[in-house]
Symmetry: D2
Subunit: 409 residues, 4 copies
């Protein structure tokens, strides 16, 4: 086996592991170094560092401190990597930790982060998913079983100073347009819960105060939550600092396009086996701004879909201009209504869309004033037939279990 | 062969064919009637009714009168169809007309409709695509050849009065927020160029004045421009009026997700062979608001992709909140920059993204403040290798030809 | 549209069309000439030249004169093609004739050709398949509907004299080992029913007496009956005579691997749209003996299979040594037994395996003494669930219709 | 993690592990018991029990004692399983052992087992393949890298006495037709090297003398070497003895259809994670003779193929009657000749066909006298373009390394 360069102990706080960090900052020292061509393994915490437990009580989801996330393993320095290079990362394999063969999906309370459908599901809920080899099922959502499209939700290189400043400036400008919004428009730096890896002293405190939060995807990649960055894919990351500084975390056993439940996907602790190499000067050669990637030759091959359309008229009937976000929300709501006819609760339907390998396509974005988005629901993940028929739907799900909810306090 | 219920003569004006219409209105009489279980063929004009010619001059794209579109064949009445039913439509086959084995892709001038990247490509341009059996190539864009994912861009049933009124009301409200915008926020009714099928007299004039334009997708489906509504797919349409009133047009030989160039896709005249049946009361049974569908078992199987990411920070660096539209625009712009490195002009890259079977995925919509969208470019449509390598890109395209441009007058 | 170089009139005998032939011989004159880069259309008869009718009587299958087959369109001469070149053929499209939207599948009587399971189905039977756009169904086999993997069963270039002699010599040697066998071991030349295209006079008679029958696949390709030579594929044929002499026929709307029913596949009259080009000296450059090809990017995408195994122990329990033919026969028989449990007759099961896009894999050929073959049955072609379950099979097919049989006379 | 019911120590002889056996016999006691619905893990030796080493010397392949194979883990008893039931086995996951991240492919000497192309490769050769997460490469075969289609080559239930006797009888009858053949026609019982699991005493010796060898696939499944019995597939095995007695071994990291090199596939030690359940009386309900299975939803998705044809005329030009074995051999030889043009040695080409996920299709089996088989070579496993072009092949492989050979002694 390849060497495990970063180990994590799930019984230890991630704050006690100095090869882990939860902010982006150019000054975070490399946790370890590798050479181009090396392959190696990094273990990771789940994104919350163990805050969510395998039980039937969603209060941990309700109460999680979102300023602590995401706990990333790294940064890994690559010898010879210089700003302007492309760091080529082969995700040779990704897995859950042997001692932790389960994951969680959650809806955050609207008061604590919310989610894509937070107006419809305003309180904290949580489902637990057990892993059976490459498959998963949930005791909270009967009738569904699928193979995991396993991937890291968050991966990327350290920003340089200029990029960090740009991020902080533009996100602050957005927050300033509505500073009291709940949930907030963006996540500003937050020193108290920052984990700056091997940094210490004044430098660490200064960096903690300005380190970019890991929540959004940005130019370097980061928290893209792209389900297709799966085991077997090859990613080309821009390098901004000497050594690159590759960090990874937020592993998902499976996720649908959009990661719509936010505490989304099936979140897990695990490990990533990867190989790195360099394309010197590749950023300019290929005109790269954001990472590019090639998907894996091995992915779950569900290809019988039922597809739901949504347009950019919102739930209240208001017309929006080519707004794909709203269109996709309608497609998701349409799918949830459909699933209810088979006996699922709305929360179960929402959780399925967040975790299963559903596709979200931007189908039309020019036909004013309506964008059209489509949600592709794989029918083969259900243990019964969910296709429409002249007989009408059969209630295969008889209730009795649901996604646990923790009311706001 | 199945019977051809609507025929179109490409040498005749669509206004002279009373089995064609270009507005949505509940009072448009059925052009013909069929029974559930019947299969039949409808010929269609291209969406502009022949305004765009197979030549190297984009002035026709520049000068097209967009109030005339889209010329639809129908409406077809289905015996027994009643409001609340689902009309099941099997697209048994779709093809180009024998005498018209070519199609066009265009960018509209920003002054006349624009498109997804209109700020980057503000003037009218046009590319012509020749069909070779199931493949297509363009004399304006060398090095690209692909199989057509052939489909109707526009298909749906007549609205009832209540739905028509709702459409007109909400779209007018949007226009009223910025009535002088160029391009406009929505397309209001326009009596002078309305073609109301078999209607005549005062009723016709009244309906023409209030008939909904066919531009946007709406609850009934309509101009969804979903590339996956391809030959072999099965669609379930809500029925609003007695008989259903199914109309179809705007055939595309191929299109990428988003139809980003607007005069988008590879537009063509052709025919649709379909079969209809009913799920009585299906709208309530399945909780349907927008159409749902199942994709075809036969589609172009390009599965080696190069994937571009985009986030909701716009070209000027401004931060937007979870805006998928902007994120997808960035992914498209990133792909165009990449293609330029292989010798393509920006316009050629834009046309490729609009016409080839690219996928646009809504990858992340919850990681505040950035949405993340991905553009999936199939590598197999290129006659050379467009993957990144340590050697850097090779300029396979040497220039000399480009997408014809007609300057604004 | 591309030009149609060979036309066939289904109301005319193929013997009256001198751009058709039914033997392989180097002296058959080119029916027409094209240039490298040209695309063109050839119409074809069905392989029997119209002997089988769209009715419910299998006596035509029983009585067909198999020395008349296959009626091929061509040969097409390609300017500049010389022995040792590779002729590159793009199958741009393939279709049925508008006036003949149906096909047939038959089992020959054991006394007249037989088939793969002739000992189990010794008498002539026939099923008729109707085409609905890209789908097909049969009134003789309910509950099955699938998209056609349309392809020419027979395509290849004229042999040279040396190759022709080799064929005749080695096939005669085989026949001579058991000259009275029924069905025979091979099909020797047969002058009375030979159709030598534009040949006439003594040369024609001599060639008719020695022209190779079109039944088997050989080094030049010929009657390979490879279902994956479908529309969109690209084939590289060795050239043996000046001009190449490409002929094609025996079109199939669909077929399973092995074409096991012999009068197999869904046989039809139709047309092939193709483009030709040359790789000069390609035979030696690439070490080519038999044709090679690349499959189409568009094929029916059924990927939920139920797979049946067979080993090389025959129906009587006799052990054979690594015999894939026998192993595949067992896999087919196993599948037929399985289908019977859902209500199909054996003949219906046999016809399904011959016509639907089933795969036949050579799974193991080294584990003495048993070869292992697998038959892959796509479950999505059935209108009901054919997967095993704890409940046991449901008889969805209630009998009443079957595959018409014509008893031996 | 699921419980590991059978553990193997690669430093220990498999003969010292009584939860392993290498013969089929109804009296072998269950190594352990599980209940329907249980999931569990079985570790396995490689098929030779460690006889082949990770080095560059093929003498171990030359000298291996083939009467010792295959070392299977089990049998696992399933509570409630009775003759006539179907044992449903979900292969939840399959992997290599952490301490053994490599595998081997070998050609046996013609004097010691031979292989599919033994007349062309008569001496022992061996290639070593390293595993990099889900990918593999070989230091003996440059330019090739692919994802593993990981699977057990051998899995099945214990035969009952009647079935065992039938096997021994029919295989002896075959051997008796040519008892001195090298390699032999079948593998008869061989007491000296039998490993009968937990059996002891006289009963063990008697059973050892009559225990069926594990080499061929048979009615119960066994050594089917079906590459598609991969992780994620579901298999339905006939049960012959009380408790079923499921055994598994002969794990392959990857294999092509046919496992043509015999010491074929990429052989490895590893583990299988599986779940079992029962369909009571399923053998009769579904008319099952051999196992049936459903392939995995996750498999390597290489779909750009170059396809080689072969017909049943052998290398010496002799005509055989519908012999798929010979046809497939020709297709393989054709592919090897082709690969040589790119610089590979014949042995390297042979090893690629044995290990990579190539498909072998039975394309035509009725066109007398020639069967037609096709070999599907995935082009994406090569690091360079192997498609034909007008330029001719480029020698990407420059020699220097080859598959080690150990001459016969």
């Amino acid at each position: 086996m390849a060497e495990t360069l970063v180990k994590v102990d799930l019984n230890q706080s991630p704050y006690d592991n100095d090869m882990v960090h939860n902010r982006w900052h150019p000054d975070i020292p490399m946790a370890c170094w590798v050479k181009p061509g090396d392959d190696f393994i990094l273990e990771t915490y789940d994104w919350t560092g163990g805050a969510i437990k395998n039980n039937d009580d969603a209060s941990d989801v309700r109460d999680v401190d979102l300023t602590t996330v995401h706990f990333l393993s790294g940064p890994v320095g690559v010898e010879g990597a210089e700003p302007g290079d492309l760091l080529v990362v082969d995700l040779l394999d990704v897995g859950a930790k042997d001692e932790s063969m389960w994951g969680f999906n959650g809806f955050f309370s609207q008061k604590n982060g919310g989610g894509f459908l937070t107006e419809h599901f305003p309180e904290a809920q949580k489902s637990i998913w057990d892993f059976h080899g490459m498959f998963t099922t949930s005791r909270h959502i009967p009738g569904v079983r699928f193979a995991g499209l396993i991937h890291p939700g968050l991966i990327g290189c350290l920003p340089d100073r200029k990029m960090l400043d740009m991020w902080n400036t533009r996100e602050k400008a957005l927050i300033d347009t509505d500073p009291d919004r709940v949930p907030p428009l963006a996540a500003p730096p937050s020193a108290p819960t920052a984990h700056m890896g091997k940094m210490s002293g004044d430098g660490r405190d200064k960096a903690a105060a300005e380190g970019a939060r890991t929540v959004p995807p940005r130019e370097h990649g980061g928290n893209c939550d792209i389900k297709d960055l799966s085991r077997g894919s090859r990613i080309f990351f821009p390098v901004y600092v000497k050594g690159g500084g590759l960090s990874v975390g937020d592993l998902h056993f499976s996720q649908g396009d959009g990661e719509i439940t936010f505490c989304g996907a099936i979140e897990m602790a695990g490990w990533v086996h990867m190989r790195v190499s360099l394309i010197k000067g590749g950023v300019a050669k290929y005109g790269i701004k954001n990472p590019i990637f090639k998907p894996s030759p091995i992915t779950p091959n569900y290809n019988d879909y039922l597809i739901f359309e949504g347009i950019s008229v919102d739930e209240r009937g208001e017309q929006h201009y080519l707004d794909v976000h709203i269109a996709y929300r309608q497609a998701c709501l349409n799918a949830i209504e459909y699933l209810k006819k088979f006996g699922y609760s709305g929360a179960q339907g929402y959780a399925i869309l967040g975790t299963a390998p559903v596709q979200g396509h931007i189908s039309g974005v020019v036909d004013i004033p309506n964008a059209c988005a489509t949600l592709w629901l794989p029918t083969e993940i259900f243990e019964f037939d969910i296709n429409p028929s002249t007989q009408g739907p059969v209630k295969h799900i008889s209730g009795g279990v649901d996604v646990p909810l923790a009311p706001d306090r």
